[in-house]
Amino acid sequence: MIEQHLPILLIALPLLAAPLIVLLGGRRRAYILALTVCWCVFGIAVAVMSRVLGTGPISYELGGWPSPYGIVYVVDYLSAFVMLFVSGIGAIVLTYAPASINREIPLSKHYLFCATYLLCLTGLLGMCITGDLFNVFVFLEISSLSSYALISLGKTRRAPMAALQYLILGTIGATFFLIGIGLLYQMTGTLNMADIASRLESVDGSKTKLVAFAFMTVGLCVKMAVFPLHTWLPNAYTYAPSVVTCFIAATATKVSVYAFIRLVFGIFTPHFAFEEMPLGDALMIFSLVGIFVASTAAIYQTNIKRLLAWSSVAQLGYMLLGISMANVGGLSAGIVHMFNHALIKGGLFMVVGCFVLQIGSVKLEDLRGAGKTMPLTSFAWVIGGLGLIGIPMTAGFVSKWLLLTSAVGAGLWPVGIFMLLSSLLAVVYVWRVVEILYFSEPSKLAEKATEAPIQMLIPMYVVIGATIVFGCWTEFSIGIAHEAAVSLVGSVTSGGTP
């Protein structure tokens, strides 16, 4: 009985819990309730994933209204996979949170933090699960609005300004997306993604389709922080509380990438996007330029959070590079990199959260010599950093290797060479921090620091350990990503699945 309703519970549970937390109030109560809900949601995501693996994609009709008239939730390989790691990261980060938020967020605002966190999770999961285009917009705004609020909780006075800048760009992006939805609705008279896809086939060469495609692509590119539209990201990640940065950096941009994949492959079809429109070339150029510019910028940062934020912009380039190839190999590499990067970046920001808690600074000069006083935390940075570079046996290697082989397989030798060169840049910025941690005279702050509390170390090592596990055991992640890519790229003839 309840098994049938798992897809809606995934959304309804955190959505209902959020106002409940605000009504209940109370710091401890709020946190425990939020944590329970997060782990429940993760459990549901696992159950849904296993059902999809067992019996194929699930389609859930809200209120029993049949598909083109009512709103339908669709769980297939890709959405189940994205929801799995989003809810997983959400649960682990919240487990890690208490010590960190005690320090960084005023105690009186903890229950609001918990409620907003759950809303953000709802929005992200909703974007993955829904098969209705307008619903995507609504969930996009739910997650965006709550992330603006979360970012503004940062302690420094720059946090509200960073949140406002993100809000302005994010709203423009979301409104562009809304304009695109409107134009698509005007052409097809429907909002159901599968329905739009099947009706769009008959609308060829229409300018409205072109304009809709342009608006939606640009809108999502803002949310994804694709290179020239990334300006909101470094400030937002830098000035948000550490826990918020962990969560948002690991999930928000990935879910936007997911929505982009759905849009390009599910609705507009690769034929239109890559053959009639030059999306492939454009994405490839922007992502390669983005990888180089952002990696270079990361090298020159003196703030460890900002360094990781720039690295996020660069890593996003790899995902888009995979998508831009528009073949099964490239797309599955992009999808696997979404997952791997979520783990790596989530883990690394958790490391930074420990430094912030114990040392009280995010400046690289204050972290000097922390390897001696905080050995476990520093070691986690080394492992995560290796994953970021893409050393064999780490998760980062798997996706970069897939990307490299499919680039070379498609005859794109220069892209392969650029990728190797850009990995060298990653070596530089990761090594810079390693050198500071281990081979410098301790700074005053780092000398006094002690190891981070165990409640933070365990979740951190779960995530960091996962990057090693998924670097060695690749069947799960690559298998699902491959299935998802086949169903997306193979859907050219059938008109697309939602």
Binding site: F137, S152, R157
Partner: protein, 198 residues
Amino acid sequence: MTMETFLGLYNYWIVIFLMMTGFYIVIARGNLIKTIIGLNIFQTSVFLLYITMGKVTGGIAPIVSESDGHGAENHDAGHEHDAVNSAAEHAFNGSGAFESGAETATESGEFESGIETGVDSWVQTVGYDEPIADGVAGHANDAISEVVYSNPLPSVLMLTAIVVGIATTALALALVVRIREEYGTIEEDEILEMDRNS
């Protein structure tokens, strides 16, 4: 583009004008409140876009009956007469129109058939994108085509979007209040200047 199509699309020109105005304000103004106002104008233009596309000349409420739009045939004539609107009645009165279309009508059933076809045309105009039923019910179509039907769906979508817009504005204003408390100004240049110096 002729003058007529140019003027006919005036709603869309307003949409584009508002959109660009809002966008320009967001980009060009350094005052945070003005930026938010620009953002609001930008969002409002999208509301207008949706509402414009919701107006359909000659559209009709999409009533879907179980037997694929011909469910009315099961009813008796008297009942139909109540159900059919003045447009269908109009079709019946214009009896000349029957000759071409109502081939299957028996002598005794001519009245009924006329109503039926009227009803059919009524049902077939379900949704504005369906072709308006031709032939018999031409008069009915004339009556319907004068009606500017308002598709409720875009309006409902915009209600949601308005709520989102209000939430965004409220949050943005709250952030501006905090920025003002911290920096003592809401001019972006001055804030960035203070950040650089600190």
